[in-house]
Symmetry: D2
Subunit: 336 residues, 4 copies
């Protein structure tokens, strides 16, 4: 059960109310959600107690949510969340294209790609500076200087940026550069990291773990939301299955599920999701047809020269084709 307090209460009154709950032995989690003050009750209350709370002079309303996640649930927030970022609006009618290389490699590389990404019609530039790598001998990314190159390239062409955070101790430095934090699939249940990003003010794109159920993804999002950061973007990027022809199995079934279950925007990453450049265009179209709000695409001027993920990276020429096809399709599904 969620308790919404009335607007413009004095902090003193909020504390009084909290004490009132404690006196009744009601355990709660306190959350600031936009401008509202809410308490999420653990466990179930009896009918008498519910009415007593409902009738309390500082209580606006109560809401029962029959899901393990509360803030992420569409019951909590009927209207789809729209995340504004400069002139972009994620979760709105427009399809959002995030594209760029797996890793930032050099100043020129990211600048050249940024130019192509912009001219393809994308709004957001992706690029990894701190890279999670399966083995310790692989290229780990350029680190801070990479962030600098990324920001520089994005600014020149009027793009926003998204980049990955792996280490709670990097929050401040990445916050100095990025517009959107990305939490990689491997970290979907890295709870200290989720909590840390609950405290930042910027949007967080949360990738689904390759082992995760839909519920587990929503519970991971709840960890961020509960910290007061309501700008969470969910991202499907493929799951582990028995199929050997693709690197992962992109699971588009999650899109209608999430669209029904949650108010948060949903993005699809067909590059990681399939691990095959030759499938990216078809699966991008499918993702948007299924209802996704945008795409996260790995692209490179010359994918064969990419330092990482070459097999799943499309050329910037292919990217332009992709954007054109998706835009054409968008209109047929009432998007822009």
């Amino acid at each position: 059960m969620i308790i919404f307090l009335k607007d413009k209460l004095l902090l003193k009154n909020i504390r009084f109310f909290q004490q009132f709950l404690i006196n009744k032995n009601i355990e709660t989690t306190e959350v600031s959600w936009k401008k509202q003050h809410i308490f999420i009750v653990k466990g179930r209350l009896g009918g008498f107690m519910k009415r007593e709370i409902q009738n309390h002079k500082w209580v606006e309303k109560i809401l029962e949510i029959d899901r393990p996640y509360k803030l992420a649930s569409r019951v909590f927030n009927m209207n789809s969340t729209k995340i504004r970022l400069a002139n972009i609006s994620i979760g709105n009618k427009e399809i959002v294209f995030m594209a760029g290389p797996c890793s930032i490699e050099t100043r020129d590389q990211i600048r050249n790609i940024a130019h192509e990404v912009k001219s393809a019609g994308c709004q957001i530039l992706r690029g990894g500076a701190f890279k999670p790598r399966t083995g310790p001998y692989d290229f780990p990314g350029l680190g801070k200087i990479g962030l600098h190159f990324l920001r520089e390239a994005a600014s020149e062409f009027g793009l926003a940026i998204i980049t990955e955070i792996m280490d709670v101790r990097d929050t401040e430095i990445i916050n100095n550069y990025t517009d959107i934090f990305q939490i990689g699939a491997r970290n979907m249940q890295n709870y200290p990291l989720l909590k840390e990003l609950g405290r930042v003010k910027k949007p967080v794109l949360l990738k689904r773990g390759m082992w995760a159920t839909y519920k587990e993804l929503l519970l991971a999002a709840e960890y961020i939301l509960i910290g007061g950061n309501n700008k969470v973007i969910l991202c499907e990027r493929g799951i582990r299955t028995h199929v050997s022809e693709t690197r992962f199995t992109l699971d588009l079934n999650i899109i209608p599920y999430l669209k029904h279950e949650t108010h948060l925007p949903v993005i699809v990453d067909p590059s990681h999701g399939t691990g095959r450049a030759d499938m990216v265009r078809a699966m991008s179209r499918a993702a948007i047809a299924a209802g996704a709000d945008g795409l996260l695409i790995e692209t490179h001027i010359d994918p064969r020269k990419s330092m990482s993920d070459a097999e799943q990276t499309i050329s910037t020429i292919e990217l332009k084709k992709l954007v054109r096809e998706v835009k054409k399709l968008s209109l047929a599904v009432n998007r822009e």
Copy 2:
């Protein structure tokens, strides 16, 4: 390696040629493919032997296919296979809609559904008379009388029909009624059944096993093709994964893969593929956007009263919405 013989050879000459191969210790499989006569060579031949065969007076050409499946491969047949059925053409520009109940229950039930299926704009009526059921105490279908009801309803409304075969011994009786044979997912590797349907003249829709890789599906198709039946339709219907929110995970990634690898038409069954009626519309759109040639949908006048698969069956009202949406989208992906 495949050896294509010249047109219009006398049977006597074909047998001579075959003896020539046997004398050289070359093991082959002989196939009649449309009007052509071909031999598929087991193993690899040396360069000298290849040239000798290539230069043989009755040989049209030879073709190397670097895949375990040969006839199913797009290398074998560059042009997409189009399967004609009355005025329908499967694998062509038009999207094919196959819809109907899980099981044929009564004469009225199938007639009423046929009426709605037709008015929704579908071309083919589906319905099970011999049903594979996980447990022996579940409704196994009406059998022969069901086939009769199905044909009657389809004829009244000018629809073609598709129905499932489970038992090699039912080939003749089902052949008397159906336009398309369906091989269910559980029977994808039922080799006697595949071989049996290699000998019929009618199209066969082959469903992917819930455990199968893409290669295994194509090898199963090869079993039918090798028998001389070149009208095979492949169907994705979901795989077993760890995801618990859906009954199966519909794997649309197979569509671009198959479209690249094979000339055979590809159909998607989002009803079984997700097991959830509330996902069928979104996944139908996604399937067509990814490049599928058609859809196989479970529908019922009142899904709650369906004797089987109620959770994944959409109402005929929902079906009409689905067809409209898909047709709108088809144009945006250059289909009809």
Copy 3:
């Protein structure tokens, strides 16, 4: 609910009783189980009706089974089923070893292997004559002559035999040779085949499909049991997972589950289950430690020369080591 009739009723009385049920609109399945006559009721009955049946003069007792499978359930049969075959007893204290080649290749091959299998201490000889092969160009087995070689070799060394059936139309011919019918993993849900083997008198080893849940395996067994054949042996042989280092993931967790849920014997096939000869010994020990009643092992005098499944086939020398290790371990888990 299951209704057990009293012993030694006249057939006339059984039919009377059946009519009594029909008059009450109670749908049932009639089964002959050993020497007993039972009716399995579909759906649930009210308390009044239950008592009326329970008190019927020809009714011995009724039994509620809260599982979708009834005859396979341990509630139905508290004592573990022991299947006797010459001087072997499957499901008893002794560990049963079934070993032999994937395919019967020549008379000498199977004879030589039979000799080694016997001297290793195994009781049953396996060998495929009708082989399910993923692709149509692979060696399909020797067919009938293979069965002949198998029986000959087994007889010479005093072994029983087990061989696979794929096609319902082969029942009679295989029945002429084999002691145990094997249903392969791909055919676990081939319902016509299950029903066919419900009518034979010989034991049936039913392999778990690589996609199947535990419940689905038990429901497949139920199809055989319901036909009156109570000699079903369950066999774990690996499932499809994301793991790429093994061909399948042998799922030993099913053993304690089955031992609790069903009275049927449980055999493990570590050869197919892992697809790797170097894991067979360790997983054989683990299977017996977990409670399995026996093992099904692929072995060859020289595995490198095996015409199929070479990677998972152990040498007969390795087989002897395996049997010794397993026998030593058996005593520590109160087996023989």
Copy 4:
């Protein structure tokens, strides 16, 4: 390729050698392994360069390792690693039993359990103070005070302890209490955490992610080893599969694989691995029969009262039975 330097080189000489490699454009990772100094070369070197290095006056030997992991490979270290902890030796002939509650709940709870764990014959006490929980509203553990209770209880009964670390920032505090650090399955690819634990001096038990291949587990271990901490224990705890009867599928096939591939000890957690208390004993026996070096078991005086993971927790009475059975079996597989 790995370069081993000679013993007792001056630091100055090591730096000279490093400069020599840099001058040749050879990228390396430097590792202190026990008392040895080694350089791991990235990529492949030509034969001439190899000989030059091999003949260098400070080089002891070079070693080619044809695996993506080097230090974790058995090629690098032929002898199995034995990790000594007080009078316990993990990876040696004796079977190591780690047991305790999922979460430390109260001082009395952990003390009572410690008493039973000791009297059952276990050597190590487990208990979570910082708990990774799927949802943010679940009990997160007692934190620091929990560690205190755990150490107190273990000390009273002469047990060593193991507890989980989730947050890199907790390293120091947990290091003050624990004997063994545990990295949970969700954090198997939390690279900052792996690196952090590469710098501590205590053993680290690394749980396999529920999505991970065998190679990925070994590469995760490599991250710790490369930091200079050579006391890594690998732990199998179940993977995500389609099976619905168990919470995870305990994958014992990994045991013979790891025993062949790596010198590191292997522990099995059948409690998480199955998620079912009624399977823990059977799977414990199977794990040891397959070659595991020990077990990690969740136990509670009264599992029904456990605050977390009640379904998979066995009673301390059941634990005693388990230890007895496993010890009996150990002798039959040449363990103690």
